[in-house]
Structures are given as structure tokens and as C-alpha cells.
């Protein structure tokens, strides 16, 4: 009984301290929409948002988790010339669908099948146009594209998520399949998290379900062998 009083007294003390702390200490701000980063980073973001800056100062920062190194393996294997091999990079075009045949009468899903099965498209019921805008759809790394990581958070994400920051925009909307090999090279953090959890799940169940079954069997049929 004394133990109970001691425990409940301790808990009441802790709760009242916590409440007092919340009420009396300065209000903890959740960043108020700006990132908890260094002065330099915040200055860079300020420069970018006003767009009043030198070109060399606003190179997009390496925020994306996606691995987009333009390796020699990614180049066209049979190019016309050494410079032509890098021409097929379509990430910097003003119209990313330039040269696609019969583009006008097609729907997005016909070519971009993988991008139709994720949380934003399936659960939030958002159509492609609502984020990607009207024609011509610029490439994602084109300097003036609304989808450029510099300004994606303000031009696209903030339409629904008030207060989103550039960090928020680094969330990958069209995730690759977490267990696939393309995730391994493209989004390794997701890939290894997926496989870790899968191995954990499979391993735990593979060990404990047989253990449990054996326990039951032994208890059922082993009565005479006991003692």
C-alpha cells in the first residue's frame, strides 16, 4: 500500500512539473516554418526565395535522397559521338516531352505507370496535373520549373501543406518499390530499411511460430515423458 502511494505521488509530481514547465518556460516553437539549420543555410534559402542572387550562389543543394549521379554507365551505349552520349539526359529540358510521338492524345498513366501507385495519387486522390501543372511540363531540374527542388516546396507542396520547407519537399512522392534493385541504387535508405524490417518480421515469426507449435505439441503429447 505504501508502495502505491509512493508511486502515485511520484507520478503526480512528474506530471505537475511537466505542466508547469510547459506553462512557464518560453513557448517551444516548432520552427515556425523555417528550418532548424545554420545561419548560412538560412541565408542561402532567403537568397533563393527572393531570386535576387548570382547564378553561382544558387546551385540547388544536394537535398534529394535520390542518387542521381550521371555515371558513365547511365550514358547511351551506342551514341553518335562522344558529346552526343550526354544529350539524352532529359532532366534539363524546357519541355520534357519534346519529341515524344503522339503525345497530345495520350494520358499520363500510359507511360508513367509506376507513378500512379503511391500515397498521394491513391489516397489523396490527386491528379497528375494538379502538381505537375499544364503543358509544357518542364524537366524537373530545369532552372525555371516549379518542380525544381529550389522552389518545389513553395510552388507545389504548399498548395496543400501550409508551411512546408525545402526539407519537406525532399520527400519522395513517387517512391520506387522499396524492395527493388532500382531502389537499391536510387533510394538506398528506403531499400535497406525495407529489407531490414522484412528480415526482422520473417526472422521473428520463423523462429517463434515453430517454437510455439513445438511447445504446444510437447505439452499435448509429452505428458508421460515429463518428470
Amino acid at each position: 500500500m505504501r508502495n502505491m502511494i509512493y508511486i502515485s505521488r511520484t507520478i503526480v509530481c512528474i506530471i505537475s512539473f511537466a505542466l508547469l514547465a510547459i506553462l512557464l518556460l518560453p513557448a517551444l516553437s516548432l520552427g515556425q516554418g523555417e528550418e532548424v539549420t545554420s545561419y548560412i543555410n538560412r541565408y542561402k534559402q532567403y537568397e533563393v526565395s527572393t531570386n535576387y542572387s548570382e547564378r553561382y550562389e544558387v546551385r540547388p543543394s544536394q537535398r534529394s535522397p535520390l542518387v542521381r549521379k550521371f555515371r558513365s554507365i547511365d550514358r547511351e551505349p551506342f551514341a553518335y559521338s562522344s558529346t552526343a552520349s550526354s544529350v539524352r539526359n532529359r532532366n534539363l529540358l524546357a519541355d520534357s516531352h519534346r519529341g515524344v510521338k503522339f503525345y497530345d492524345n495520350r494520358r499520363c498513366e500510359e507511360c508513367h505507370v509506376n507513378e500512379t501507385h503511391d500515397i498521394h495519387t491513391v489516397r489523396a486522390n490527386i491528379t497528375c496535373r494538379q502538381c505537375h501543372g499544364l503543358e509544357p511540363i518542364a524537366s524537373i531540374n530545369h532552372y525555371y520549373s516549379p518542380m525544381n527542388p529550389i522552389r518545389r516546396h513553395a510552388y507545389v507542396c504548399a498548395k496543400c501543406h501550409e508551411g512546408s520547407s525545402a526539407s519537406f519537399a525532399s520527400y519522395v512522392i513517387h517512391e520506387p518499390a522499396a524492395g527493388s534493385s532500382s531502389a537499391r541504387t536510387g533510394f538506398p535508405a528506403l531499400y535497406y530499411s525495407y529489407w531490414f524490417m522484412l528480415v526482422l518480421l520473417a526472422g521473428t515469426l520463423t523462429f517463434f511460430i515453430p517454437h510455439t507449435i513445438l511447445m504446444g505439441l510437447r505439452e499435448m503429447f509429452g505428458r508421460k515423458k515429463d518428470k
Partner: protein, 275 residues
Amino acid sequence: MQTTRIKRFSILDRGFHLFLILTFLIQTATGFSRLFFPTVWGKNLNAVFGGYETSIFIHKWVGVLMIWGFIFHTLYLLTRIDWKNLRSSLFGPDSLIPNFQDVKHLWQRILWFFGIGSRPRMGRWAYWEKFDYWAVYWGMPLLAITGIMLMYPVAASNYVPGWTLNIAVLLHRAEAILAVSYIFIVHFYVGHLRPSSFPMNEAMFAGSIPMEELEEEKPAWFDQLKNEGKLETIKVKPPTLVYKIVYFIFGYAALGFGVYLLVNGIIYSRYITLH
């Protein structure tokens, strides 16, 4: 028939467990109704809670309640530690912390399953009970942190990179599925279906176990209690019939609901992804 019963779980322990049952079942049901919403079953389950939007509302706030329960339980654990005798409190026979003895018991028990060797003498906490406890204990902060990140994604992305939200969704779903499948398969079997527990292991509801069960299932603890002379001090009366009926009905209701969620989850599992 008045069998002598030994106290195993205090009323606070049983309170925490009851709280865990209720919140775990609510979270599983609302979580599954969201996860399985493209399926027919998911839509029906959503309707039970008042729709897709209401499901997530319940899920979030019962989740916050669970976090508070976790915090209180941790504080309670800290009061249960004997800080003056820290070493024996943490690594002694009454502790939930796994030790080398549990590894030995596991090995001996696996041998005993196959008829080789004798049944290991379990102490107060068998190794599978310790695993059960710590599996839930570490799973809850994982679900809590990823859950809070998903509740306040914009604020979370101010402190960690936004792409960790992709990982948070994956971890939250994967850990939920792990916890649900472990509890509804392994824990339910150990608590209800195995021959020594059938029809129901009453220890966590009645708070006490009969002396025969103590001698058979936990002989090392029985010896320890006898040596320390504590056997007489923790004898308690058996539970009243009314209480017994109540917890039988409640236990079976929880079991039934859990098995229902598990079976339907397995049936409709091919329609969902982890991310």
C-alpha cells in the same frame, strides 16, 4: 475448492496490460481500416469507425494516449527498480532483463521439445515472456516516433530531412504488421490455446496463479520463494466468480477480435504495400 494462489501481477501491472489490450486493439483496427481501405473488408471496417477520416483521427489520438501510457509505464519501471541494490535488481532472478540463463533455458527447452533432456526449470520470467515484453517495449517507441512524424510532417521536416518521412511510413507499417502478427499468433497461442493455458491463462487478469501451476511452470521461482521465506506473504485469495466471468468474456472477446483482424489481414494482404 480453495486452491492456494500465489500473487504474480499487481493491480497496477494488470491495469497497464488492460490499457495495452484496449489501445492495441483500437490501433490495430483503425490502422488496418486505413491500410486496407482499397479492399471491401477495409471499407466495412472504416464504416465501423465512422469513415476513412474518422479512422485516422481515432488512430492518432489513441496513439498519443498510448505514448502517455508508455511514459507512465517507464516511470513506473523506474520506481520498481531497487536503486540501492542496482546490480541484483537489474540482473537478479526477479528482473525482466534477459541474461545468459535465458539463453541456456532456450537451448534446453528446444532439446526438451524433441525429447532430449529434461524440462528446464523456469524462474519467475520465462525467456519467451521476457521476449514478449521487450519486443513490445522497443516496438512502441518506433511506432510512436514514426507516428508523430507522420502526424506533423511539416514540423518534422524542419528537424530531419523530409525524405525520412518516406522511411517513417515504411517503418510504421512494417513495425505495426510485425507487432500485430506476433501478438495475435504467438502471444495468443501461449496465453490461450496451448494445453497448459487452455482455456485461458488467467494470470494477467486474476493477478495470481494456483500453487500447482507455480510448481510446474516456474519451479525455480518456487524454490527461490521458499528459500527467501516469501511464499506465505504473497498468497492471495482466488478471484471471485463474478470477476472470473467478466474477464473470461472480455478475454475471449479480445481474442476473437484479434483473430478476426489477423485472418482478414492475411486474406487481404495481397492488396496492400508497405509503402
